[in-house]
Symmetry: C2
Subunit: 202 residues, 2 copies
DNA sequence: CCTGTTCTGTACCGCTCGGTATGAAACGAA
DNA sequence: TTCGTTTCATACCGAGCGGTACAGAACAGG
């Protein structure tokens, strides 16, 4: 069906990328519609027509963030061994959190760890989004047990949880201005720990 | 000097504790003066007379939080060895983040990881507050090197940074609703990693 | 008692927030 | 050209924000 009416004057993905940077830098509540529309180059009615409301825009932004900015986390799952998965994840995480052309830290943490009473749904949504990644990691380690890469006595979900904790801590540190080298240093120590826990007999 | 005038109708520390819970739960920006004064049982003019303004109140709250709620972190530094310090810190951290009579997580993270443009000073203040703890930890590990507890080739600040990353990640996880057992599980894995990094020759 | 000082409660300020009514502008179809 | 449809820009809405003016109430000292 050919669309009728006046054509949209902006590209949706471009607008989402501009909005992403604002949410990333200021969080859900800290990002005002004034600042969002200014960054996106559109007016409020256009935003509401395209995305419903502020929360709808945020959810679209987070979905795009997961697609584009978190690709390295999905790619890490393709590594051949559990140790390689952990290494790729932690190292790429340190790089992603300190990209000079992006705000420091992670949208999923910066976006809404602390939200007002009414916006508790935002914090829950982000927590669920992070949990999805953690579960994917646990599933990958389950597979590693099946493949004989990990010993049967190790707990795949515990390993995934530990890596999730470290990546989130890295994000907090990065948002506070920690340089990439510091994060990489911590990543290597965490990797030692992961190896010790994942390959106990050695 | 005996004070003149009408006596204050509320206890400062009690009021700070009530305000702490509100900031802890909703963050700096998410906590409105209406909610704060309601929880503290006072009116806005009393708040402004006693604490200056919202930011002044928050700084007093954070100072009290560090004194009262973070005592376990200072106590951990008194452990005899670096490994015992790390163990006490990580384990007590897991407990503190999931106390049933407190909001989940940590005020220092929940309070203001993401703040609006004008309140960037709040995020910086909290980051500096966390860095103080990290530096105290590094100083403790420096001492451990001097005492021969840690080998000269280990990097005390790197160890402190790693523990700081883990505790902050635990705080994020706890705020998302993770149970205490999950945090303790991750703490043990991190402790393995710490031991491997801190006592390499072994 | 009266006076000076400090605190308390009410009622209010300007401002910004998220969200919207409205009419003009820009297209495809006929 | 005219129409139906969709998006655009302006201007506005009620509500809640952080912060304050003001007058009365509660104390100590004289």
């Amino acid at each position: 069906m050919t669309q009728t009416g006046r054509p949209r004057g902006f590209d949706t993905d471009d607008a989402l990328d501009r909005a992403m940077e604002v949410f990333w830098r200021h969080g859900y509540e800290g990002a005002s519609l004034t600042e969002l529309t200014a960054a996106m180059g559109i007016n409020k009615p256009s935003l509401y027509a395209a995305f419903g409301n502020k929360e709808g825009l945020f959810r679209r932004v987070v979905a795009r963030y997961a697609d584009v900015e978190m690709a390295y986390a999905r790619d890490a799952l393709d590594q051949p061994t559990a140790r390689d998965v952990a290494a790729a994840l932690l190292r790429e995480n340190a790089v992603a959190l300190t990209r000079p052309d992006r705000p420091a830290g992670c949208l999923s943490i910066q976006g809404g760890t602390a939200c007002g009473t009414d916006n508790a749904a935002i914090a829950d949504f982000l927590a669920a989004s992070r949990l999805t990644g953690e579960n994917a990691l646990a599933a990958r380690f389950d597979r590693a047990v099946d493949e004989g890469d990990l010993a049967p006595e190790v707990d795949p979900t515990a390993l995934a949880r530990f890596l999730s904790v470290v990546t989130e801590g890295q994000a907090v540190h990065a948002a506070a201005g920690a340089p990439r080298a510091h994060l990489e240093q911590s990543a290597e120590i965490a990797l030692h720990a992961f190896t010790a826990a994942a390959y106990p007999v050695r």
